[in-house]
């Protein structure tokens, strides 16, 4: 069982939202975390990328609509109107979530380079949730059987043991303790790493996870590849120095098909 660490006061959870949607799916995922602790400061960060603004200034840029597959002009005024609407929608969704779960709430509308905005957010929050850019969204299919039996598949990747402990705490809460939905990825070089890794994971989780996979220490790209292969619904990562590098965050944003939970510090549930 994970050890119960002393309460360290209010914790901050940041939800980093892009312009492509309200982030409702993301909010649904983090619900279980908020339900268990009211002393959380929920920060909504709505980021508008500079590139988008520049694009809106270019007269020949066209937008291919995801919904209708039609091509239309992409100009500044329309862009600003859409952004304003999205901002309001995102704020409202977050506010409702905060009200329902009884946590404190703040909202920031920021503009700049997405990666640096994300980096800044991740450094200031205990946990940061964000969605990848997913330029090409694959079509979803829904049947009664799928909707009934589809589970959230959490993949938690551990490189650094200290920060990894926090990531395991977070994934325990996010999965509502259903360890059969959790797969743990651990970087390992030697058999000793594997043994100690297994012991570490089992000592931190309430029960055995669905799987513990040892991956060679070939950095974040290796983890991303495994997460893609495993069709993860959420990737939980420790916010290490390596992870918070711009290049790493860009990779996460651009290459992952699922939301990411970056855990800087999470000391277990307050009981």
């Amino acid at each position: 069982m994970p050890e119960k660490l002393p309460d360290t006061g209010p914790r901050s959870i940041a939800v980093f939202l892009g312009t492509s949607g309200s982030g409702q799916a993301l909010l649904n995922i983090l619900g279980p975390l908020l339900d268990k602790d009211t002393r959380i400061d929920l920060q909504g960060v709505f980021a508008v990328d500079d590139d988008l603004r520049h694009a809106a200034d270019l007269p020949f840029v066209k937008e291919l609509c995801r919904l209708t597959y039609s091509v239309r002009e992409f100009h500044g005024a329309e862009f600003e109107r859409t952004i304003a609407l999205r901002t309001r929608t995102a704020r409202k969704a977050l506010e409702q979530l905060a009200r329902r779960t009884g946590v404190a709430f703040s909202f920031h509308d920021v503009r700049g380079a997405t990666v640096s905005l994300l980096q800044k957010t991740a450094l200031s929050a205990d946990i940061t949730f964000f969605e990848p850019l997913r330029l090409f969204v694959t079509h979803q299919v829904s049947t009664p059987a799928r909707s009934r039996f589809q589970r959230q598949r959490y993949i938690v990747a551990i490189d650094d043991r200290e920060i990894g402990a926090h990531a395991l705490n977070a994934v325990t809460l996010l999965s509502n303790g259903r360890m059969q939905d959790v797969t743990v990825l651990i970087s390992a070089r030697t058999m000793a790493d594997i043994d100690s890794g297994q012991q570490f994971v089992r000592s931190r989780l309430p029960s055995d996870p669905a799987d513990i996979i040892f991956v060679p220490q070939d950095g974040l790209y290796g983890l991303i590849d495994v997460a893609r292969a495993k069709r993860a619904d959420m990737l939980v990562l420790g916010a290490t120095e390596e992870t918070l590098k711009s290049e790493s965050l860009r990779s996460l944003l651009e290459r992952l098909p699922c939301p990411v939970c970056l855990v800087r510090s999470w000391r277990g549930p307050v009981t």
Binding site: D50, H54, A55, K62, F136, T143, A145
Partner: protein, 816 residues
């Protein structure tokens, strides 16, 4: 027993005793059960015939008086008959997978339906476990993912090709709020508008062309996605279909094997299997899916439950544990209780129904057997009679609501498949119901071809008396009453004859006899006896009379108090004591009624005052007209009846009907004509024909007792009595106190066969017979009547002559 008209009857003629010694038993304890109704051979034959003839329309109407044992007999008879017949089929309703509005009826061998229902319940429960397990299995998940992965991989590869192409041309792909855009890059950054303008025109054109090209390619790719997605969905559905089909095959195949001898069941199971596979989502508990709010879950659970109910079996008629054909007695034959009904239940504020809410009616339950109904009740419930006739006529049962039937309700409801109907309907009713239906409903005689008419009375033969004794013993056993000694049985037999109003017959009113028996049982217990004896029976009779006789006592009291004038001594001209009977509920009593007559010169009219004021019924008026005819033919054959008479029932404030007073009316008219007084110590009852013969009347015992009671209260003088038609002597079953008074000469009962005998007894004068010249003897009563009538005729002629003369004088005056 011989007796002479005009002579008083001996006490023995007033009551026919039942000799207890005629019984071979000492108490009813030794009597065996007897379920037949004695003396009802005619009705029994009719019912037997109706149940034997297997032809449409041979239903039976059992008619007769209440209490005559029709219900008991029909029940026992049909139970016996039904026991020899095979049990008919069970019936169920099942969901119609092609048209849910028209549930299908399944005919199953007797006793199978319940088991089939349970089997289906278990199969569905199994399916609820097996199907989710199959869908949750790693195999299924893996196959499903393989399909989606194939689709996703294909998409991603195609996207990647476009992405790489863009990269090659230094064009970036970005996510816009609503979609995707291609942007030109410079030094790994999106080119700004100003910088773009500074580019050579050729490069600008190339960039624009590249972007247009890439956008068009991406658009084509995205447009192809729905088609691929459809293909993916089809594959996933096919997979789900295959998995569901495999999962459900096990439980349903077992049932198909079990019920292979019933093709309709196998067909239904096949349809059910196909439907389960098509609607597999119902078994997956979508409400249990992640992220479903609690309130929505509740609604979804309810919807899923109600949707799953389509696989249930609604057992309409279950014959399990029953042998023989059904015999159903429906006490509340309303439309829906007969035809069946479709119930509704509230679901989220609306009224909904399903084939599970179809309820059987009495016709369903009795199908293949017998349905016994009370005719009056069937006729009393709206549309019940019409519904019953329609079902019998069409030989099928079509369940619909009363509202639908009369066109009141237009809501969408079910139209269950009709069920073939094959049964015998037995209607039990009174004669009036039978004859009214026969007269006014043309379909009645077509549908109820057999009438079983129960006798009101049966001959008081030794056999019937013996049967009655056994019937009483059967009631005693059935109701656990005290047994009777044979004297008590004899007393009940006598009372039955009295109830029939005939000492040679027994009433078939079994209810009345049973009630008396029950009360005698009470009195025996009250008196601390083990067996019911004569005194207990008598106590029960007296108690019944006492309870019912309030009005009779009140009338008698008022006569004694001279409020109602009835004289029982002395003699009066133009006044006679007639006798009337009153029936209140089940209690009948007689009382004297003063009848008076006045006579004057007239043109032959006998005025019936009762008729003039609409208090006289038609039979009474008929009696008056008959006696007028008798007056003319008997007294003044060859001259006009030159009198005017009026007759009245004094102090009568209700209606009068029947002709039983016509003998008395004749006598009082004769008294008035002859101016000869009538003895008030006598009362008279009887109807007369046009020749003066006295004919039988009803209620003779009560009439005699009614007059006796008044005389007895005033003190019996020894010359009091009642004149009754000679034809009524066989009906005499008088009370013990009357018989004792007659036996001791204090009261008399005179049988009379002609009005002349009445007049002789009432006036004390000989009536006289016409001699060879057609004349009555001078001192005879008839002579006085003739003389008076002749005198009146002469006066009339004189009046007529005077009038003529006056006219002639007038004419002469005119002439002169």
């Amino acid at each position: 027993m011989g007796f002479k008209s005009g002579n008083p009857l001996p006490a023995q003629a007033l009551y026919r005793r039942c000799d207890p010694e005629q019984f071979a038993f000492k108490t009813t304890q030794s009597l065996e059960k007897f379920s037949k109704i004695p003396g009802q051979d005619r009705a029994v034959e009719a019912i037997h015939l109706a149940t034997e003839i297997d032809i449409e329309g041979y239903n039976v109407f059992v008619l007769g008086r209440p209490g005559s044992g029709r219900h008991t007999f029909v029940r026992e008879f049909l139970k016996g008959k039904a026991a020899e017949q095979p049990a008919p089929s069970d019936w169920c309703y099942v969901y119609n997978f092609d048209d849910p509005r028209q549930p299908l009826a399944l005919k199953l061998p007797a006793g199978v339906s319940k088991e089939f229902r349970v089997d289906i319940e278990h199969a569905i429960q199994d399916a609820q476990t097996v199907i989710p397990a199959a869908f949750e299995s790693e195999d299924f998940q893996a196959q499903q993912e393989a399909i989606t992965d194939e689709f996703k991989d294909r998409q991603e590869k195609e996207f990647q090709v476009i992405g790489k192409e863009a990269q090659k041309r230094s064009i970036s792909v970005i996510q816009t709020p609503a979609g995707i855009a291609f942007l030109p890059m410079q030094d790994n950054e999106v080119i700004k508008s100003d910088d773009f303008d500074k580019l050579p025109e050729d490069q600008q054109k190339q960039i624009r062309k590249d972007i247009d090209d890439l956008t068009a390619r991406l658009q084509r790719l995205m447009r192809s996605i729905p088609k691929h997605a459809r293909e993916m969905r089809r594959k996933i559905r096919q997979l789900e279909h295959d998995v569901a089909s495999l999962a459900v095959t096990g439980p349903l195949d077992e049932l198909k094997t079990k019920y292979q001898h019933i093709p309709v069941v196998v067909e239904h199971l096949e349809r059910m299997q196909a439907d389960i596979v098509e609607n597999v989502g119902l078994f997956l508990g979508a409400a249990e899916g992640a992220g479903v709010p609690a309130q929505v879950k509740q609604v979804m659970h309810s919807r899923e439950d109600s949707a799953l109910r389509r696989y249930a079996i609604s057992v309409l008629v279950d014959r399990s544990g029953r042998e023989g054909a059904p015999v159903v007695f429906e006490d509340k034959p309303s439309f829906s209780e007969l035809i069946g009904k479709i119930e509704y239940e509230a679901e989220f504020g609306t009224m909904v129904t399903s084939f599970n809410l179809i309820r059987a009616g009495a016709l369903h339950k009795a199908n293949g057997g017998y349905l016994v109904l009370d005719a009056a009740k069937v006729l009393a419930y709206p549309q019940a009679w019409e519904g019953l006739k329609r079902a019998i006529k069409s030989a099928e049962l079509r369940i619909r609501s009363l509202g639908d039937d009369i066109g009141f309700v237009s809501t969408v409801s079910l139209e269950p498949q009709p069920i073939p109907l094959e049964l015998k309907v037995v209607l039990i009713g009174e004669r009036i119901h039978y004859y009214l239906l026969d007269r006014y409903d043309p379909e009645f005689s077509e549908l109820f071809k057999i009438a079983a008419d129960f006798e009101d009375q049966v001959p008081r033969s030794e056999e019937n008396v013996e049967h009655r004794a056994r019937l009483l013993a059967t009631v005693i056993r059935q109701e656990n009453l005290r047994h009777m000694d044979r004297a008590a049985v004899a007393r009940l037999i006598e009372e039955s004859a009295r109830h029939a109003g005939d000492n040679e017959r027994l009433s078939t009113d079994i209810r009345q006899a049973s009630d008396l028996l029950r009360e005698a049982h009470y009195w025996a217990g009250h008196n601390g006896k083990e067996l019911i004896g004569v005194s207990d029976v008598q106590q029960a009779i007296d108690s019944q009379v006492r309870r019912a006789s309030r009005y009779m006592d009140q009338m008698q009291t008022e006569i004694i108090r001279d409020t109602l004038v009835v004289e029982t001594s002395g003699a009066r001209i133009g006044q006679v004591n007639g006798l009337a009977v009153t029936q209140l509920g089940g209690f009948m009593f007689g009382r004297p009624q003063r009848i008076t007559a006045t006579v004057s010169l007239g043109s032959g009219d006998v005025v019936d005052i009762e008729r003039e004021v609409d208090l006289g019924g038609p039979l009474h008026s008929k009696g008056i007209l008959i006696l007028t005819g008798f007056l003319k033919s008997h007294y003044v054959k060859d001259q006009p009846l030159s009198m005017s008479a009026s007759l009245v029932f004094e102090q009568s404030y209700g209606g009068v009907d029947g002709d039983s007073a016509s003998a008395g009316e004749m006598c009082v008219l004769a008294s008035a004509l002859a101016e000869v007084p009538i003895k008030q110590s006598l009362a008279v009852t009887g109807s007369v024909d046009q020749y003066g013969r006295v004919q039988a009347i009803g209620g003779v015992n009560h009439k005699i007792e009614g007059f006796f009671d008044i005389c007895e209260k005033r003190g019996l003088s020894g010359d009091q009595g009642v004149l009754i038609p000679a034809a009524n002597v066989k009906h005499l079953m008088l009370r013990e106190d009357v018989i004792e008074a007659v036996d001791s000469g204090k009261f008399h009962v005179y049988p009379v066969d002609h009005v002349d005998r009445c007049l002789e007894l009432l006036t004390g004068l000989p009536s006289g017979e016409r001699d060879a010249d057609g004349q009555f003897p001078e001192d005879s009563l008839n002579h006085k009547i003739c003389a008076r009538l002749t005198g009146l005729a002469e006066k009339r002629r004189a009046f007529a002559g005077a009038g003529l003369k006056q006219v002639d004088d007038t004419d002469a005056g005119k002439t002169s």
